[in-house]
Amino acid sequence: MSQSEFETNLNSADSAVAVFERDDRTFLSNVRNAVRNYPTLVPALVLIVSILIFGIIAPRFLSPGVLSLVLQQVTVIGIVAIAQTLIILTAGIDLSVGAILVLSTFVMGRLSVSYGVPLPIAIAAGMAIGTLMGAFNGFLVAKIKLPPFIVTLGTLSVFTALKLWYSGSESIRNSDIEANAPSLLWFGEAAARPFGATITYGGIALILLAAVFWFILQHTAWGRHVYAIGDDPEAAALSGIKTDRTLISVYAVAGLICGFGAWVAIGRVGSISPISFEEINLATITAVVIGGTSLFGGRGSIPGSVLGALIVGVFTTGLSLAGVDDYWQMFAVGNLVLIAVALDQWLRRATQ
């Protein structure tokens, strides 16, 4: 191998090329590295610590009954937060998840309760409608290249209008569902009652769904592509990933999860109302952010988001048990979001 003249001294040079012994092995940088390598560490710790603290403030909180109530309360938010996580991982956001959820509940409810359609078909139709609405969002984001925030802000209104039109602004009552399609309520039933706790099928569904999507994100090519697209879309495209197709599929899968969440939501609430779940959009974004997923995409995890939803549940339940007013609960959750985002920024800075 010939060398240029100015390189002739290279042979005698130190052969250890680019060794990266970091010299900043301080306590803080160790913490930072640990958090970067295990991003669910922080929400897991926050959850445990907050449960303990509320247990001290309000001893009743640590009873199995109350803890399982928290799980029940966050079941639907947790499931929709899984959908939201997929989208935020691609550096997007979905403000229309709540509208998709409720519209899907009405498709399921109307078909099975009012028209007597067999339940599996009604549920499949509801989930299909959810998928379709998600795919529509994805099409606008990937093909028309509109910012996800604007797209889903628009479809939030569109889907909400469709929801009000289709529901006729009327609820489907619990007694009607029980009479015509009782299996729609299955996810609200208790699967087990260990030590006075009530574990519903919905709670189990949340955990299973989270496990399934954790597997998909970590162990399938599609999952790696979701991260790559959120990280650097241009690099992903140059690496041979079909970014448009993947993006559309992410939004469609998110719609499908919302459709499934609709079934769980019917069981959780017991009835179907056009004005339910109006604040779930922001609640899921809150859960995702507290769970350590970056709003800038490419970083985060499904278990984190479920933990994030549980943290919000623990805070609201714990504070109300401690006799704190509603607005201070909101105040606390808001602060959690700010701390989570600040933490994310700190981690990002460390990587640049």
Binding site: S2, V17, T220, R224, D231, A235, A236, S239
Partner: protein, 266 residues
């Protein structure tokens, strides 16, 4: 060697490529030939259209007009994936790596290996172990195993190490052509040397290389022929053994007409 390549057909050939961005003409009838077993340097001033030419032959940009032939067969690349499937690998200037993903993930981005058996077929589970082993082998081939952990995120690597990962990816998968866009631009002297040695390694595997660079000493050291690009088209190709660096620069900037005797015989 020259006599052998003379009789060969080009591996990769482009004829009369045109590309317009609005009113800007990036390629104006650009031609391009790459012969087997050679390192072809591509030089040109900023804005000469080198990048657009390279994007066209690597599938990242579709030309408005013109044809591209690979092994004498007409090809139509619409995405980088098309070019990759045809055996053309590109190391882009921005490296096209996903910073938050691991080295192994990045090496296999877009062509992941699935596990055998039911987990792979039914659940589409990836074979992380095989991919990691492969990535580690490729990196140690290139002497880049100062990297301790194949699962560390690419963002934790230095510029030179990232370049190494990108080059290793291209060298591992490029079966027909490897294109490198400014591979030494961000590197120090020693790391540049690594990449130049690596170019020779890839060449010795029988894969022709296209090297785009502004670094004349590097170009003149490793290239068998030099393609000089000017004003959206090929001005000429020259033999680095005949022509001097300053003449090449003069031609590329338009200060000098290409003298006919320096033109490559092909």
């Amino acid at each position: 060697m020259k006599n052998i390549t003379h009789n060969l057909e080009p591996v990769l050939q482009a004829k009369g490529l045109m590309k317009r961005y609005g009113t800007v003409v990036a390629m104006n009838g650009a031609d391009f030939d790459l012969y087997p077993n050679e390192v072809l340097g591509v030089i040109g001033d900023n804005g000469a259209g080198k990048t657009t030419l390279i994007r066209a032959i690597s599938g990242a940009t579709a030309p408005d007009h013109g044809v591209i032939e690979l092994d004498g067969k007409l090809v139509n690349f619409h995405t980088p994936d098309d070019a990759r499937n045809a055996g053309i690998e590109t190391v882009y200037q921005n490296l096209a790596l996903s910073p938050a993903l691991s080295i192994a993930d990045n090496m296999f981005l877009g062509r992941e290996i699935r596990e055998k058996g039911i987990m792979g077929k039914l659940f589409r589970k990836l074979d992380h172990k095989q991919m990691e082993t492969f990535a580690r082998d490729k990196l140690s081939e290139l002497g880049l195993l100062t990297i301790q952990n194949i699962n560390q995120a690419v963002e934790t690597l230095s510029g030179g190490q990232r370049q190494g990962v990108a080059v290793a990816r291209a060298a591992a998968f490029g079966s027909k052509v490897v294109i490198m866009d400014e591979p030494t631009a961000a590197l120090g002297v020693k790391e540049s040397r690594r990449v130049l040695d690596l170019i020779q390694d890839v060449k010795s595997k029988g894969i022709p290389i296209v090297l785009i660079s502004h670094n004349m000493p590097h170009i003149f050291e490793v290239c068998d022929r030099i393609h000089i690009h000017r004003l959206g088209r090929r001005l000429c190709t020259v033999d680095p053994k005949i022509i001097s660096m300053s003449d090449a620069v003069a031609m590329m900037t338009g200060a000098m007409e290409p003298p006919t005797e320096a033109l490559d015989a092909r």
